[in-house]
């Protein structure tokens, strides 16, 4: 479980996060949604420690991230998997080496054990064997995202972060990625936080949804409640897409 308490973050005097308090549950896909510029990515990067927050607390289970020393933060980070918007695969090494990289860096596994783990992770995200030796630039965007997920889960993380994991993908592949993240979250009982503004993801896998607007927590609920919400800002965000407006009418 990850919990944030009254976190504030400013850039050059402009406050981007204004005292957000929320909890992300273990074994669930926790979504952060909101308009572009609402502070989603800043919130995610603050939780990850890529941005130092001005005020507040970030708890990873019973560990207060803000009070951890750099050495302890590094240890904690080995329990974190991250899928970036663009995949962020290392382009100078192959697909297989990308997944092996965290294992090489942080484990004392033998080469055979590492290979088994790499095969297991890549197999879990449905990457064919023939793609193992290719470089990231030689595979499709959808495959890159799947390899990024495989790399993120290679060290068996307790926490998985995904920053717009299906941006730039066609709807079918996006759904595959969403389902994959959800099934991995359940299988490995991870605390998963997904940053998205894709409404399909919200409806498909939004077990817990946090809607933020202008750096403030505006609404929290699940995919079953999101279409019936009375929150005006949330409704404006969701029903900007006519398809969902129609869905609500039909409902």
């Amino acid at each position: 479980m990850i919990e944030v308490k009254k976190i504030h973050k400013s850039f050059d005097g402009s406050e981007v996060l204004k005292g957000i308090t929320t909890r992300f549950e273990k074994g669930k896909t926790n979504l952060i949604i909101g308009r572009s510029g609402s502070g989603k990515t800043v919130l995610l990067k603050s939780i990850l420690g890529l941005y130092e927050i001005d005020n507040g607390e970030i708890w990873y289970d019973d560990r207060n991230f803000c009070n951890l020393k750099e050495k302890d933060r590094k240890k904690l980070r080995q329990e974190i998997g991250m899928v970036f918007q663009g995949g962020a695969l290392f382009d100078s090494i192959s697909v297989e080496e990308n997944v092996r990289f965290p294992l090489d860096m942080f484990t004392s596994m033998t080469n055979v054990e590492k290979q088994k783990r790499v095969d297991f992770c890549l197999d879990h995200v449905n990457i064919e064997k023939k793609a193992f030796k290719l470089n990231p630039s030689e595979i499709s965007g959808g495959m890159q995202k799947r390899v990024a997920i495989a790399r993120a889960i290679s060290l068996n993380p307790k926490y998985l972060f995904c920053d717009e994991p299906n941006s730039g993908l066609d709807p079918e592949t996006a759904t595959v990625i969403d389902k994959l993240i959800q099934s991995l979250t359940r299988e490995f009982q991870m605390t998963t936080i997904i940053n998205t503004h894709d409404m399909n993801s919200v409806i498909e896998i939004g077990e817990s949804i946090l809607f933020i607007s202008k750096g403030e927590k505006e609404w929290i609920g699940s995919k079953d409640e999101v279409l019936d919400s009375k929150n005006k800002k949330l409704n404006d965000f969701i029903f900007a897409n006519k398809l969902y407006a129609q869905m609500r009418e039909e409902k």
Binding site: R77, G86, D91
Partner: protein, 246 residues
């Protein structure tokens, strides 16, 4: 103000670069990769440039010493000392700042804008150390070898060109390059190459590591990195010459 900010941030980055590595084996693997990428891949360019410059200098020395009162050995001596003292160290470092420096800035800068550096940080890896330390060690290690190669091929260039265009005989040239030889010139230049190697790797790495934006900013950072490295090389050349040679 901006200068102080950048100098401060550069030393802050260096502090992170020289932190204890997470896993030595991975750093050593990366080091060999960088020696190949930054050092071995530069050998061809160094040889070509040195042969041509050696040849050109021999012709120019012959031209400026056409007076029969000057001993012909001066042509070989002039070529040798210019190569030993300045060309194969400073000028070569300036050229390498263009080749290796822009390579380092664009590689690290691209990793920054495509979030690969964030990815390393989130894994718990000291990205500054993992990406920059092997480059610095690799360049500092290969620079003295590139210097030796450059002197050798520069002298060879003079040996081939001088007799070929008829400004000096092979015998006179070989006599000249052995005449009044001061071994300290080579020691002095090798010391300079360690400093230049450090600058050529660390300054462009700094510009790449802190780049913000996209491809355009990476390109601009590469240009800035090369210009600043060149200025620093010349500044250090002046300081080291004053300290070690006069």
């Amino acid at each position: 103000m901006n200068l102080f900010f950048n100098v401060g941030r550069y030393f802050f980055m260096l502090k992170r670069v020289f932190a204890k590595p997470e896993k030595h084996k991975m750093y050593i693997k990366q080091l060999f990769h960088e020696i190949d990428n930054l050092g071995v891949n530069s050998v061809g360019l160094v040889i070509i440039i040195s042969i041509f410059i050696g040849g050109i200098m021999t012709i120019q020395f012959a031209y400026s010493m056409a007076n029969p009162l000057y001993p012909t050995e001066l042509i070989g001596l002039g070529t040798r000392d210019t190569l030993l003292l300045e060309f194969s160290s400073t000028i070569l470092a300036l050229i390498m700042a263009g080749k290796i420096g822009s390579n380092i800035t664009s590689e690290i800068g691209t990793m920054r804008v495509t979030e690969q550096i964030d990815s390393l940080e989130i894994m718990g890896i000291n990205s500054a150390s993992y990406l920059i330390l092997p480059k610095i060690i690799a360049v500092v290690f290969v620079f003295p070898f590139l210097y030796i190669l450059s002197v050798f091929f520069g002298l060879l260039g003079g040996l081939l060109t001088g007799p070929m265009v008829g400004v000096i005989t092979m015998h006179e040239y070989i006599e000249g390059i052995q005449w009044l030889f001061v071994p300290y010139y080579a020691t002095f230049s090798i010391i300079k190459m360690f400093f230049f190697g450090f600058l050529v790797a660390s300054v462009p790495a700094y510009f790449g590591y802190y780049v913000q934006g996209g491809a355009l900013q990476v390109g601009k950072a590469s240009t800035k990195a090369v210009v600043n490295t060149n200025i620093l090389i010349l500044l250090f050349d002046l300081i080291l010459t004053r300290l070690l040679l006069t």
